[in-house]
């Protein structure tokens, strides 16, 4: 019964989405206020019904109703409750339902908080949003129904893939989807603006908070996925340039560019045509990511669907939305008027450089990800494009960006003073040079690139602090005055400095982990000791124990530094009977921002164990930096100008002719 309710609710949601896609659009065209006002309530009702559908599926998982195919294939009665719930989106059908739920959620949020929008823009935005909902809800019902029943209900389920039974993977997909789908709002706004044929600074003020929120979720989602890969896959890597990872990185880069170009549009009314294009591209890349991950063209841990009709269906959705919006763009963009002028050396100029480098870097990732697919389709040759490609292309484009980053906020709008900015950054130069020289001296004969990367990271970090210092005139004014200035500073300015600082932190972690890490792979017997970077690890014993739905073999290692015991590592191998598969659980010991990483290999008959041991210096900074970036985003989001009440000003402006 619950499954049928869930299915029926989804069908109703699709019907509502169809109404919401067509009626307001026609209403906005013929200026009929009643037809336009249909959008709001239907958006809320759609959320209610998709929510009901999702709740039904979750209930089926919680009560382990194995008469439903989806539950049978992905759950097990002995599984802990939290993984029963996360199992809902640990499979193709459920994850698409989650996608639809988040899409409906964002639509409802626009309906709720968008009361201040000009009515035609609001109607058009919600209609475009609903077009996407129609496509995805129809896709679920037609090809991936999560509520299908089995004729002969089995007694036990087949369990969730063990590598997915992890807290990291329980929260990774919802965060990632909040990011992907969040960009649908910027997309809907962009398409609505094209339909209306006009766009202004108020539009950018509307789009920025949504983009920012989506960007924050995507950043967290990517960081979480990367940390999961680091500790769960058991070989210490945190980013593999795997096509599936690239699929989430591309919308992130494009979204970052969009954040910055929307800023120019909001403040200076320039770069309009470009911002609209970026909004379209960002969501297109999110859709492309979904296609790559869900269609089965790539094989990876994320690929649930191998049914070709699904791939063709998603491809059709992709072509419709990307092709349609770009065609609309080509048709209507020339009618959008150009805005304010600026000199090449100016805040706008810096933001243009940011966009130029980000989009180019994004394009190289795009080529590296899709070239193997295109080549195989055209010639049949199978190739793999791995980390060397991306290090050689993405790296050289991203580093200049990091170096230019501290300059941007120090330049004035319209016309900036590059020399003045450089003078104010002297301290950052000096500290970066000292850091570079110190690292180079300590690691004499080590990698040459590493000290340079560390220098760039330090420069970016100190540069962000200098930006803040200059704004509050620290040391130029009495401390109390500086403090008052800090309190009075727009939150978005503080957020910028924090986020830029976070990116520097992230690069510092990457540079240290990639260049100064130590690795040992060896076979050990109980009682033996191995050393790495001044730490001595003694293999104490090997025990077997039972978990809720698995058995595990745990090796116990005592870690000593200079004779004193500083901790215990207990890496394990788990065997899951239901799927006859096993996972490797790495053990981590955190020392400051560095970690000792230990994972188990095979156990021989004579009791010796193969181990993989790493020392990862400053590795935690990679994820900590991402969290700092998100914190900067949150700070910026809380800015008064972007808060919900603020757009009333925007509305007044909109009543005047837009240009």
């Amino acid at each position: 019964m619950i499954a049928e309710i869930g299915h029926y609710a989804l069908v109703l949601a699709l019907a509502l989405a169809l109404i919401q896609a067509v009626v307001p659009l026609v209403g906005a065209r013929i200026k009929d206020p009643v037809m336009m006002s249909v959008a709001g309530p239907t958006a809320l009702a759609q959320l209610a019904f998709v929510g009901l559908s999702f709740a039904a599926l979750t209930t089926l998982y919680v009560i382990s109703d194995f008469s439903v195919v989806n539950v049978f294939e992905n759950s097990h009665s002995a599984k802990p409750l939290s993984y029963k719930i996360s199992g809902v989106w640990g499979n193709h059908e459920g994850s698409m339902l989650l996608w639809a739920l988040i899409l409906a959620l964002f639509g409802a949020l626009v309906a709720l908080f968008g009361r201040n929008l000009p009515p035609t823009l609001r109607a058009n935005v919600l209609a475009v949003q609903s077009f996407i909902a129609v496509a995805f809800e129809f896709f679920i019902l037609a090809t991936s129904n999560p509520f299908a029943r089995l004729a002969q209900p089995p007694f036990e389920g087949r369990d969730l893939n063990p590598v997915l039974q992890d807290i990291g993977l329980a929260v990774h997909p919802p965060l990632l989807y909040l990011g992907y789908v969040g960009f649908s709002i910027s997309f809907s706004f962009a398409v609505a603006a094209l339909i209306e044929g006009r766009i202004d600074a108020a539009w950018a003020r509307w789009v920025r908070p949504w983009t920012l929120a989506a960007w924050m979720f995507l950043t967290l989602g990517i960081a979480m996925g990367s940390y999961w890969a680091y500790y769960e896959l058991g070989w210490g890597g945190w980013w593999f340039w795997d096509p599936v990872e690239n699929a989430s990185l591309m919308p992130w880069i494009a979204g970052t560019a969009l954040l910055h170009s929307a800023l120019v549009m909001e403040k200076r009314n320039a770069l309009k045509v470009w911002t609209v294009l970026l909004a379209i591209l960002t969501f297109s890349l999110s859709l492309l990511g979904t296609f790559l991950v869900r269609s089965g063209v790539l094989t990876s841990v994320h690929t649930f669907a191998t049914d070709p009709t699904r791939g063709v269906f998603i491809l059709a959705i992709l072509i419709f939305f990307i092709g349609g919006s770009l065609a609309l763009y080509a048709w209507r963009a020339p009618s959008l008027k150009q805005g304010g002028l600026f000199a090449p050396i100016s805040r706008e100029g810096a933001l243009v450089l940011n966009n130029l480098l980000l989009t180019t870097a994004c394009a190289t990732v795009f080529v590296g990800t899709l070239y193997p697919l295109a080549l195989e389709a055209l010639t049949g040759d199978k190739i793999s494009v791995g980390p060397p490609f991306f290090n050689a292309t993405f790296g050289p484009l991203f580093l200049p960006l990091m170096i230019a980053m501290p300059f941007g906020p120090l330049l004035a709008w319209k016309r900036g003073d590059l020399l003045g900015a450089a003078q104010r950054l002297t301290l950052a130069f000096a500290v970066a040079l000292i850091a570079m020289a110190t690292v180079f001296a300590i690691e004499w004969g080590g990698p040459v690139l590493a000290p340079f990367l560390i220098g760039v990271a330090v420069f970016a970090m100190i540069g962000a602090l200098i930006d803040l210092k200059e704004r509050i005139q620290l040391f130029h004014q009495p401390f109390a005055v500086s403090l008052r200035r800090l309190v009075g500073l727009p939150r978005s300015a503080i957020g910028t400095a924090i986020a830029h600082f976070g990116l520097g932190v992230c690069l510092l972690g990457i540079a240290c982990e990639a260049n100064y890490g130590a690795e040992r792979i060896l076979s050990m017997k109980a009682g033996q000791t191995v050393s790495i970077r001044g730490y001595d690890l003694t293999f104490d014993n090997l025990v077997s124990r039972a978990g809720p739905n698995y058995r595990e073999l745990v090796a116990r290692f005592t870690v000593r530094s200079g004779g004193t015991t500083i901790g215990v590592l207990d890496p394990s191998k788990r065997t899951f009977q239901a799927r006859n598969s096993s996972t490797t659980e790495a053990a981590l010991l955190t020392r400051g921002f560095s970690q000792i990483y230990l994972s188990l290999g095979d156990v021989s008959d004579d009791g010796s164990v193969a181990i993989r041991l790493y020392h990862k210096p400053l590795v935690l900074l990679i994820w900590l930096g991402s969290v700092v970036m998100v914190f900067g985003g949150a700070m910026s989001l809380s800015d008064r100008r972007l808060r919900i009440g603020a757009p009333r000003v925007a509305r007044r402006r909109n009543l005047q002719p837009a240009e």
């Binding site: 990876s300 199978k382 791995g386 050689a392 792979i521 598969s581 095979d602 021989s604």
Partner: protein
């Protein structure tokens, strides 16, 4: 500066960055891509020793030998066999008789040194490249098809 000159500066710098990116992509594509080959490809194409490739096929049952962390095994596509040696930890679900993809260097026409080995991460999975290579050699069995067609596939890297 006039509007026209400013626009020229913008377009010029845009093209410059794009040109740099294009050069980077071209060089990287020439130097750092790796081709996938089956054992038969290696024999028939008479490939050079030292070339860096990905090798895929089935692990020949009974061929796996281990000594501490050194392992060696045969990879077959039913027609030809290549001996693979690997130093390190094999993936959790590395099994004889099942699909594997190894990346590394060709030592000579019939032996290969792997520096990373990918295996399936699930009972129901056959790497797509391996499945295609087996189909080409006519050694595809229907039960592989059932396995490859099943849901949830996940090769996991090992280095």
């Amino acid at each position: 500066m006039t509007r026209k000159q400013r626009r020229l500066v913008m377009i010029g710098s845009g093209l410059a960055v794009l040109a740099v990116a294009a050069v980077l992509v071209m060089t990287a594509l020439r130097d750092s891509i790796v081709f996938f080959n089956s054992p038969t490809d290696i024999v028939e194409k008479n490939m050079q020793a030292g070339s860096r490739i990905r090798l895929g096929g089935l692990v020949q049952p009974g061929s796996l030998q281990r000594k501490n962390i050194d392992a060696s095994f045969d990879v077959t596509d039913g027609k030809n066999v290549i001996r693979v040696s690997y130093r390190g930890i094999l993936p959790d679900l590395f099994r004889e008789g099942q699909g594997v993809v190894a990346e590394g260097q060709l030592i000579d026409g019939h032996s290969f040194r792997a520096d990373s080995v990918l295996a399936k991460h699930d009972e129901n999975y056959m790497p797509k490249e391996v499945a295609d290579a087996l189909k080409k050699q006519g050694h595809w069995k229907d039960d592989y098809g059932n396995q490859a067609g099943a849901q949830k596939s996940s090769p996991v890297k090992s280095q």
